[in-house]
Assembly symmetry: C2
Homo-oligomer: 405 residues x 2
């Protein structure tokens, strides 16, 4: 009996030991610099964040002729006699960065790291702490839930997934809550705000400090195509309903505004205790999600009164054939009468990072200036020192959410 | 204005195009065999599942001397002139399989696939459909939510994460629900049942068919250590409270039963509308989670009345120094009086796959036989043709949940 039972779970134990092979008391030399990143898989000693915020990656690749890492730029590794490659970067900006390793021209994820859906595939990511900043950390405050919810979309003819943040106390109260629809960027998906963005920690902390009102936050897949053969009522970009069909390469998201209006909002309002009038519904998004936000809200001001663009604005897609922003005609002309618009819309909020790529930085500022010239009241925010990355968007949410409702 | 705005979101568009580069109408030759796996990242044409359930992987690695794939065993790839490597496997058993690629002796994930936390790190995974079987697919039935919930554990002194499935109708009803605590296996974490296991689809479908009662399902991290210096009240394995301390390599999960009893159950019962008596609380787990289930429930029968082991059972860890199952003394002797045990415990359920590794298979059957000899009433289930893998555990949950409450 003993031997049979004692052998019963051997494989399970092996799996377990595999999982924790690296959690044993570190046999690393005491001189190892820095600390393991919080985004490492449990027990992984690398990547390490050094005191100067440079990062050290390490991987065993004895047969490789070149090993490097791509983070803010590409860094070459150095090989040890045993075939371990060590790559040390320049100091990194605080926040979350996607990265990958390069082994003899093949882009691979770092086996020592968590992966995140970004750049159109699962990608390694690393969290660089920002000294003295903890608004996006999990703290000992009341926590809301982030709920994975599937629903059927008539627009796309498919089951789709959204994540829904419900605030602390939602389950025990009977009140209804306002809703923020919050979208990720291109190459990311509905997981972005939850995993890379730390949306739940940001909202929990703001609500605990009474800086933001309790609200639901809904994050949807964002990409949406009608079934083949269906006739698309095009309302994309800054165009009116008479806009010519968008180029094919934007087909993957052409139906998203209709998904929001026709499928998502009704599902959310019938599933959760929400306030369903436009004064209690906001939408914001980052980068591509910012474009989608302006496209969706400005064409449906009967549904939304609060609008946010984080490193992403309205006014045409910058592609041949799309209509650029014209305050007189774009979005069915809702911007033409600034006074009426300002009475109707409670908040337009535009944010960007000061270290964004120049063309993007200039373009967002141009949109800001265009609104300013047209007399459209709005808030303009600059995130100091951050690029087209999640630290800009975490800060944007942290600034934007307290202004809502 | 036009040029500024039109350049504004160029980077966003590039990211978007990156994300969808592969979703354009397939320019692949019409002769391409099989279909892309549902576990591929959007648009990826490989891996493909062929009609005979073999899998074809492909990766571009022009400088590599060897490329292979590890799934049920290791397969070698064949290089094309352009540096694409194609790897074709033998027919695979239906269900979810972890896999990885090997490039010149380095284990890497497949960039074309989703990744899943298993084998102690993020790992590629592939779903092989089972013809005619859809109990774990998302269908057009009422959906519950899977909620990500953080809470603070006094036992470990850390913030911990659990996923909580709430059934359809939970939000709109005022009734209280029974709770199933459901654990993953070694090298996996609290995401396992949600992502690999499809727990929400299984429960939604069972509840829609009125085959299972609406219930909450709680999935916790599973690994738990006391802060350094704290004195551990050891109740691990099959042992009594007089069991000697477990070997160091099991320290990473030594505190889990205390987390469940002291931290997790009180948090769940104070946060959600639960039925809090033992008759409405179940626990089950797979592999390592099965061991943890017997360890937790049999030492706390005042809290649990329903027990399930999926390819994982009680009775010692099969490691030197641990106490093997002794029906007279193990778990404080709760098995010694079979009649009393059978009156007290509403269900003991043991399941395994017929294709599990021989030693594990034999060991689980030995535990089953030991219970049988001792007169402990229990259900014994065999999953035909499946190994120590998620298809066995999905089927186990599908068999087990309808018997609860």
């Amino acid at each position: 009996m003993r031997s049979l039972v004692s052998r019963a779970l051997l494989l399970s134990i092996v799996a377990h030991q595999l999982a924790f092979a690296q959690t044993a008391p570190a046999s690393q030399p005491a001189t190892l610099e820095g600390v393991p990143a919080s985004t490492n898989v449990p027990g992984a000693q690398f990547p390490r964040i050094n005191p100067d915020r440079s990062v050290t990656f390490r991987i065993h690749a004895p047969e490789a002729k070149f090993v490097g890492a791509r983070i803010d730029s590409i860094y070459s590794g150095v090989r040890s006699d045993s075939g371990d490659w060590t790559i040390r970067t320049k100091p990194q900006v605080p926040g979350f960065h996607y990265y990958w390793l390069i082994i003899d021209s093949v882009r691979v994820n770092d086996p020592a790291s968590e992966t995140f859906y970004g750049t159109g595939k699962m990608t390694s990511g690393i969290e660089i702490p920002e000294p003295g900043v903890d608004f996006y950390d999990v703290k000992n405050v009341p926590h809301g839930d982030v709920r994975e919810r599937w629903y059927f979309s008539k627009t796309t003819g498919t089951h789709r997934r959204a994540f829904v943040y419900t605030p602390p106390g939602y389950d025990r109260s009977r009140v209804r809550y306002p809703v923020l629809y919050l979208q990720h960027g291109g190459g990311e998906d509905e997981r972005g705000w939850v995993q890379q963005g730390h949306v739940a920690a940001i909202m929990d902390n703001l609500i605990a400090e009474k800086k933001a009102k309790p609200m639901l936050v809904v994050m949807e897949r964002g990409y949406a195509q009608r079934p083949r053969g269906a006739s698309p009522p095009v309302t994309l970009a800054g165009g009116t309903s008479s806009t010519p069909p968008v180029p094919d390469r934007f087909a993957p998201m052409a139906a998203f505004p209709d998904v929001v209006i026709t499928d998502l909002i009704p599902m959310i309002d019938s599933t959760y205790r929400t306030l369903t009038d436009r004064d209690h519904r906001a939408m914001a998004g980052l980068s591509m999600g910012g474009m989608q936000t302006f496209q969706t809200t400005l064409n449906h001001l009967d549904r939304f009164a609060w609008i946010g663009g984080f490193s992403g604005v309205g006014g045409g897609f910058g592609i041949p054939g799309a209509v650029p922003l014209d305050v007189k005609t774009s979005y069915n002309g809702v911007l033409a009468d600034a006074a009426a618009f300002n009475r109707k819309v409670k908040l337009v909020w535009i944010g960007l990072g000061t270290a964004e790529p120049q063309r993007m930085h200039d373009g967002i500022i141009a949109f800001h200036k265009a609104l300013e010239s047209a007399g459209i009241t709005h808030v303009y925010y600059e995130s100091p020192g951050t690029a087209h990355e999640w630290q800009t968007w975490r800060r944007s949410l942290h600034e934007f959410a307290p202004l809502l409702f």
